[in-house]
Structures are given as structure tokens and as C-alpha cells.
Symmetry: none
Subunit: 202 residues, 4 copies
Amino acid sequence: MAQPRNQRRKEERPQEITEAAFQAFAEKGYAATRVEEVAKRAGVSKGLLYLYFKTKEELFKAVIRGVVIRRVDALIAAVETTELSSEDFARGPLLEFMKTVPGSPIAVVIRLLISEGHRHPDLVEYYWDHVVSKGLAALSGLIERGVERGEFRATAVSELPQLLIAPVMLAMIWRMLFVQHDLDTDKLISTQIDMILAYIKA
Amino acid sequence: MAQPRNQRRKEERPQEITEAAFQAFAEKGYAATRVEEVAKRAGVSKGLLYLYFKTKEELFKAVIRGVVIRRVDALIAAVETTELSSEDFARGPLLEFMKTVPGSPIAVVIRLLISEGHRHPDLVEYYWDHVVSKGLAALSGLIERGVERGEFRATAVSELPQLLIAPVMLAMIWRMLFVQHDLDTDKLISTQIDMILAYIKA
Amino acid sequence: MAQPRNQRRKEERPQEITEAAFQAFAEKGYAATRVEEVAKRAGVSKGLLYLYFKTKEELFKAVIRGVVIRRVDALIAAVETTELSSEDFARGPLLEFMKTVPGSPIAVVIRLLISEGHRHPDLVEYYWDHVVSKGLAALSGLIERGVERGEFRATAVSELPQLLIAPVMLAMIWRMLFVQHDLDTDKLISTQIDMILAYIKA
Amino acid sequence: MAQPRNQRRKEERPQEITEAAFQAFAEKGYAATRVEEVAKRAGVSKGLLYLYFKTKEELFKAVIRGVVIRRVDALIAAVETTELSSEDFARGPLLEFMKTVPGSPIAVVIRLLISEGHRHPDLVEYYWDHVVSKGLAALSGLIERGVERGEFRATAVSELPQLLIAPVMLAMIWRMLFVQHDLDTDKLISTQIDMILAYIKA
DNA sequence: AATGAATGAGTATTCATTCAT
DNA sequence: CATGAATGAATACTCATTCAT
């Protein structure tokens, strides 16, 4: 038997819609995605979508926020609670996490922010607050802990945790633009970690 | 009566228009820029603009191509003709060049490609052919030459010249999104070169 | 278990809804009033409202009819049964009634008919049948009785009872548009009656 | 030969459009008139309409203002410059003018203001400033001049020039709603003037 | 009976593109 | 060559109405 056409599922709808929107935005970008397209993907009418999200922008924000939330929290917690040495943590859990980022929703969010960020400074700020600043703080902490413990020497790297992230960013952009041209992004990232550790080890 | 102003401009017009378009696209992005706005900035009527560029997309492509051409050629030539050691070249001319990139038109082009690249695979390919592949080849060449000369040891870096570019990409994106949050991008880039050289030196 | 509240209300519901609708229409006009708004004011769900009224138009008609019914009947009865002279009736009960009209629901109905009457000729006709024609007939009757009794002389006013109503109409429209600009509507109306009586007195 | 489809007539367009809009608004009211309908009536595309009027509301305001301008000015000037006695002026030019009002564009404007005035208090105020207050002042002046000259005695009418207008308002509304039911509006108006003059004559 | 989630036709507005002048 | 008036397809959003629960 077919499902009745109008299922009443108030609870699930918002997530279903933001997921559909995420897909659509990921494929076509925000501007090129028609609201109707999102509704269709979510198996829902345009009207219903507007019941949950006042405007297309509102939906966009919900999508971004939905992806961002709890994305880095696990990593940050791991940094703080791990019993591994800083080096082992960097070569282990951190490396693993970094390898997944370029193919993760975070990459999509970054693309959307690059494309549409101009008109949504609040979203950029939100992303900064919940992801970037926290993530960088955690990375700084990891390195500094290594310095304190005598694992590492004091270098500029402590204040430039972005160095750890740099190949991840490049990998993300590579995927966005040059998928067809080979690049071993995993090796790129692990080599960077190698280099950094070699550079800062005591 | 002659109209020298119009006459003289005939050949400069396309460039004037693409420059105006570049400015506008840089500020507002492709989608949000109205053709009329470009015409106004170029001091030209909409109709005339369409005389030179069949469509807005055509104009977009011309903008990208115009920016790209000869952007990296100088660097590539320098790599090939320099008499400096690879290390000195990296610490000198290469570093200088890299520092300028995040604030240069190249950054704008990359943003545009990230935003609109989906619908313009030919443009992405064009950019790849004329900039990325050439640039990467030059960097690879620089490293390999160092290896051949005994300056450097053989490492994964030879096949991953992207490592040199990674902090430049991060700096670019940082500027796009997080201008207000401090980051010493020059130091980021120079530290990366430091690290890489330390890592690969014989 | 019985649900006395719902049960008891079943018969009052339609009136509760039309009253809520009247309020809403009075404040915002027909077109600008959303059905949901009416339902909310009536403390009822949209669905239930549609159980009693097939369409928004149906509701509109019910509102108009509900207001109209028995509005003028009292006055008409009074005209017919009064033992006052025509002049005394005009200066007494009639004047009092007229003063109340501009602030009464009748004014709202007239505004609604002016705004929406085009598409509801049947409603206009209904209003004509039940209010206007009867009211005018009563006024004509009042004057003619005065003529018959020798109170008044025969004038054009007998066939133009609208003269009595004219200042009431003006007062109504004044309230609708120019509330902030003072006008002593009571004096306007009583002066008109003064004038008419002076004009037609034998 | 048919006219070319795209005539370029920058100058005339705005008026052509407001005239078409006036017609449409007069027939269907503001809310029920689609912008496309106005464009069609004006023989123009939707886009062009938006070139001259930013929004539908803007168009509405332009329509109202266009009708209002110079509508009463002629009458006011006549009141001030006439060499007739106040009574002769009232029975002559004033009466003639009043008879034309119920069928004139002013009646349409008043209907529109009654329907849409709520959301356009500025328009109502505009109408007040340019038509109502001026017109009433002129009428007051006319009466007061009569009093000064000994034509009239001092009565409440001097401060209630609205009494002169009242039957005009009634006639207007009558036309809007009850066209099919006979009413000799001319006689209504002239009788009112008769009555008023009889009432105030010295 | 009663709810309010779900539908979708209808409409104002924008903007790339054309074409009369 | 040059202009900018004119076009119309495309799209976000609203709201009366329906219908699963």
C-alpha cells in the first residue's frame, strides 16, 4: 500500500527539510537552488516548507547551524581528555579526523560561506564561534601541552595552529574544483603533520 | 566632427568592461552583480556591453581569463631562469610572491570559481591548465632540482608541491571569511617554508 | 466523560465566529484578514471554522447578514407606533438613533460593502432590502404623516428622505478617514434636522 | 501598417500607466487588480511598469496623487474671485460643480481611500491637505463672506461647511452601491442648497 | 466533532537580454 | 557605434482550503 499523501509528521519535518536543503545547496549552491526544489527533495510542498522556515535565508541559516553543531566538539573533547602524548595524538586521532574533513559536510558549509558569507556575516561569526575558534584553541592547547611536557620546543607553531589545518583547507578546495586531477589528500595531510612534528620536536 | 574619445576607446573597451566586472564580481559575487551595474562602472551602456559580450556568462569567463593570463608566468619563468639555489629561491622570490597572493586578483578568481565553478567546468579547466598545473610543475621542478643538486633529500614533498601552497590557500580563505580575526598570514607562509626546508634539507 | 464546554458551545459557535470575523474585518478589512486570524480570535481551529462556513466569502456574507438583521427594525417600529408628532419624533428618538450610527456596526458594514461590494452584488441587494429601503420608507412615512397632519408642507423632501441620512453618511466617512481632524458629528446631524424641519414646517 | 511593438515613449508612459491603473482600480479595487492587468491595459510589459513605479503601492500612490492634483483648485479659485453674491454662487457654479462630483474620479479616489486607507495614512493625509481642508476652507469662506455682507445671518453652518458636502457624499456612496435603485442625486444636492440658503438667509 | 499539518494555485518583483531609435 | 526603453521568463512567498489524525 502506498503511504497516504499527507503524512502528519510535525517532529521530523524540519530535519527532513534541512537535510534536503543541505543536499541541494551542496550540489547547486544557495542562489541556484530553488525553494521548490528543496521541497520536492524533502517530499513536501512549498507551503509546508514555509511553515517551518520563514524565508529561504532562514532555511539557509538552519542548514548551516545544523551541520555545524557538535561537529568539532568530539575532537575538542578528545584533545582535552586524551592520555596520549601530543605527538601520538597528532599522529593518531587528530590525523584521522583531519582526513575525513574534506569529504565531510564541513567542506560544504565552508563553500557556502565563501559563496554567500558576504550577506550573512552573522552566520560567519556563528561558524567562527562554534567551530573555528574552538578548534584552533584545542590545537594550540595540544601543542602547548607538548611544550610544557618537554615533548616539543617552543616555536611559532604554537601561535599558528592554522598550519595544521592548512593542508585540510587545500584538500577541501582541491575537491571542490579539481576532483578529476589526482591528489593524495591523505598523504598531503599526514606529510604536513610529519613535517610539523619534525620541526617542533625537542 | 570626429569623436576622438569614442574612437580611441574602441579597442580598450573590452578591457575596461572586464575590469569593471572584476571589481563588481569581487565585491558582490557573480550572481549578485547586475549587468547594469557593470555597465555603469565601466561608463558604458548596457547595450554596448552586450555588443562585446554575448551573455553575462561570457563576460564572466572573459573576466576570469583576463585575470589569469600571465599571472603565474613570471614566477614560472623566474623558477626556470634563476641562478639562486632552490632554498634561496624559496626563501626569496617565491616567499615574496606567495605573500602577495591572498590579497591579489587570484584570490578573487578562486572565490568566484568556488562559488560558480559548478556551472563552468570549462573555466575551472582553463584555470587548471593555465595556472595550477603550471605553477605546481614549477614548484615540483624547483624541489627536484634541489634534490638533483644535493641540496635536498628525496621526500614525499617532491610529489606534493601543494604543501607549499597550502598556507596560501588558508590565508586566502581566512581573508574572505574572518578578516576581523587576526592572523599573521605572512608569518604563516614563511613558517611553512621554513618547516618544509628543514624537512627536506639534505 | 462529557465535554460540557464543547457541547454547550456547539450552537453558539457560528455566532462566536461571525463576531470574531466582524471584529477582524472591521480592523483590517476583508481582504487583509486571514481566515486563521478569525479562527484564533474565535478560539477555534481553522478546520472547525470551515465546518460552519464553506468559504471565506460565505463567512463574509454571514457577518454582513448577522449585523444587519434587526438593526433598523426597532427604529422602523418606533416610527410606526410612536404617538409623538413628526417633528418631536425627528428631534427626539430619530436624532438619537442617527447620532449613534457613525460609531455603530452599520458603519463597518457600509465600509465593507464599499470595499468588497463589487464582488457581492447579492449582499448589497440584501442590505438594500433589509436596511436601506425599509429605513427610507420609514423616514418617508414619517414626513408624509407630518404633511397629512398639517405639521409640514409638501416639499421635495418627502421623496428625498436621503436628506436626513446625508450627514450621517458624511460623519461615517469622516470617521473612517479623518478621525484626527475634528468634526462635531452630533452637531452636524442635529443642525441638518433643524434645517430640514425649518424648511418643511407648514 | 501596425505600430512597431516596442515604441519608445519615455515621456508618456507614466501617465499612460497611471491612467490604466486608475481604470483598473476603479473597476476592481486595489487588492483585486493584478499588476499584470494594469500593464496589459496600458499596452506595456510588466517589467516596464516596474521601471517607472518601484512597487504596486508606489503606483497606487501615484494614481491617487495624479487624480487629486488640481481637482478642487478651480473651484477654490472661483470662490475667491467671483463677483457673484454668495447665494448666487452657491446656486450657480457651486451647485454645478457638486453635481459632477459623484461621477468624477474623486469618487473613485474616495472609494479607494476607504478601502485601502488603513495602510496608507500618508495618502489620506495627502488627500486631506490638498482637497478636503482646502475645499472646506473655501466653503466656509463663502458663507462667512455672505454673513459679512449681510446676505446671511450667523449660524452653525459657518463652522459646518460639511453640510454642503453631505448630500454629495451620500450621492457618491449611492452610486457605488445602489446604482440600480433610482435616486435623483442632482435634486438631492440642489434641495440641500435650497434648504441651507433658506436656513441662513438674513 | 475538532485540530492544525499539509497543499498548491496565485502574485509581486527582479534582471538578463533585445531592439527601436 | 551607442543608448536605455522595453520585454518576459523565472522565483520567493502567501493564504484559502483540504484532510489525515
